[in-house]
Symmetry: C2
Subunit: 350 residues, 2 copies
């Protein structure tokens, strides 16, 4: 077969099949798309001809004509983060199950880059987009509104969202975590890494804060907003935990925060849960590999993905969404890093 610039030239087309099978173009198309109303014999002739020629469908041409690609795009900040890679993997599985294609891209939390990337896929006429935005993605979202493309926002929702959205209920997640810590008997708890530019992190803090109030311990609890960079969080943690009066427990606002806090804990020689309790929002693998395992407030990532998928498919089908903004419940997974404090309060049952 001849090649030119890396592309295969003179590939067999429906035309060639029609000729070989001695049927017309329309029939070939009908057979290839599994339409029922074709005589058995012709089906056979066509499929055999196709196989014989080594025919492979040109989906781009089909999309051009039929004006639908059966592809959706998924944009997440990165896939290093377990939560996002689970979302991506779940959606890919859904796509396979329903025979639809899925294209991924990562935004690196960068508006310009994301906009270019998304633009690229949109220009390939994906049927819709599932997007995990960053806090400054307004320009891109505005553009998507203008293009009138079906979009579902996932995870990083804002107070108000133009597009439909699905995420964990962050307020209740924060509340759940806070309640667990106070139920354990921890009085002084630090909520670490609740970067307020991300509305969802603020929500987590607000939930935590409500739990502290209800437990009558709001005076003893502090919050530290920090960047999302584990290194910065690590340095800050070192200061907070290395002071003369370190808190009794830490609630990490995100898995990124945890990645800064854990090394800090270790380098200070603070044992968990002996010296300090640790609870993390958003599970990831290392948390189970640590000894003892770290307790978490886990997000239902598969359910979030499935809900986002379903919403997008409805949008694509032109249906109305019964609920435009869905919030799913988080769950508490208690491992060894948070323990009920005994009567003497800093003594640990081990």
């Amino acid at each position: 077969m001849k090649r030119f610039m890396g592309r295969t030239l003179g590939e067999p087309t429906v035309h060639d099949i029609a000729q070989l099978a001695r049927v017309s173009l329309g029939t070939v198309s009908n057979v290839l798309n599994g339409r029922p109303s074709v005589k058995q014999e012709l089906v056979l002739r066509v499929t055999q001809a196709a196989a014989q020629l080594g025919y492979r469908r040109n989906t781009n041409a089909a999309s051009l004509r039929s004006n639908q690609t059966d592809m959706i795009a998924v944009a997440v900040p990165n896939i290093e983060n377990a939560f996002f890679s689970e979302i991506v993997t779940s959606i890919e599985h859904l796509g396979i199950a329903e025979g639809k294609g899925v294209m991924f891209l990562t935004t690196s939390e960068n508006q310009d880059r994301a906009q270019r990337q998304v633009h690229n896929l949109i220009s390939r006429r994906v049927d819709g987009l599932i997007l995990v935005p960053s806090f400054d993605f307004q320009p891109m979202i505005r553009e998507l509104e203008a293009y009138n493309v079906p979009v579902v926002l996932v995870d990083r929702v804002e107070r108000e969202n133009h597009f439909p959205s699905v995420a964990v209920d962050n307020f209740r997640a924060g509340y759940l975590g806070g309640k667990h810590l106070f139920d354990c008997g921890y009085d002084e708890v630090v909520f670490l890494g609740g970067e307020h530019r991300f509305w969802i992190l603020k929500q987590r803090y607000d939930g935590f804060s409500k739990a502290a109030e209800e437990a009558g311990r709001s005076r003893l609890c502090r919050a530290y907003e920090l960047s999302l960079e584990p290194d910065e969080i690590r340095n800050a943690s070192l200061k907070i935990l290395g002071g003369k009066k370190p808190p009794q427990a830490i609630f990490a606002a995100s898995n990124l925060a945890a990645k800064g806090i854990i090394p800090a804990l270790q380098s200070l020689g603070l044992r968990v849960p002996g010296d300090i309790g640790l609870l993390v929002m958003d599970d990831f693998e290392a948390l189970t590999l640590l000894n003892p395992g770290v307790s978490v407030v886990a997000q239902p990532s598969a359910a979030i993905a499935a809900t986002g998928w379903r919403m997008l498919q409805s949008l694509i089908a032109g249906a109305d969404l019964p609920e435009r903004h869905i919030r799913l419940p988080a769950s508490l997974v208690v491992r060894g890093s948070t323990l009920p404090l005994g009567p003497s309060h800093l003594k640990v049952q081990q």
Copy 2:
């Protein structure tokens, strides 16, 4: 704007631009593709018209006509595994830097699923494919050969490969790790998880084995081939390590193996490096979060990705590859899980 089945109808086309800007189709195309030979004034008229209409290019149509998509596909087993997610991320960055699109898919180590997925992308006429195969992907690879699509194999290479390939030098990686362990003074070392269906894991073992021989300790070293499932590896580790004569050190053949070994170590109460040394092939984040950090033989994932990318671009350009099979060197990262043994051999300097 009207919508039908989720698609936007009546979108502006080059035609509309030509009409509004009062130029011809060819000129519009020239402007839109940044060809230099257009009068400044017309460029302006065209770009303004495009903006005014909210024009967005239909890349599929362009690809159909120009017979090149400027897109490549990348297929990895999964993105939960840090090595693969790094490969994917690196390639995406390269794509952005060079203005080419990248599409990902995961194979789940499943030949049938992979074949369907790859077929799907191939039918969209990607310019080439970067593939991390599984040991039983021969049918798919055969199909790709028939289609004459540019392909580069990454990581999971076999003894003989039809397509060009790039991977870490697994034999030398195994040797490097083994040598480090024997230099530390460990006599009895178990190489765990070297699933021989994966030729690269066997290579790692062979390298390790050679180091054992050179150190005169081959009699004391054992190897266990196991599945890639962390759970199975965990159970096997429990047996091996729980016996009356556990080895002095473990060399985990892969990060998957490590994910089974580490929980086993913990549930047996074996301390690292106090009771036993641990070295892992293939780095991942949890290894740095553990205390002490786990020593690894690290793969140059970014370099592997970059090399694969470069090779594929050459192939697509129709150039010949100077080297069809590239093997990159691994590097040893010593953290706290492997320590030089003192004279009394099981005593640890801490």
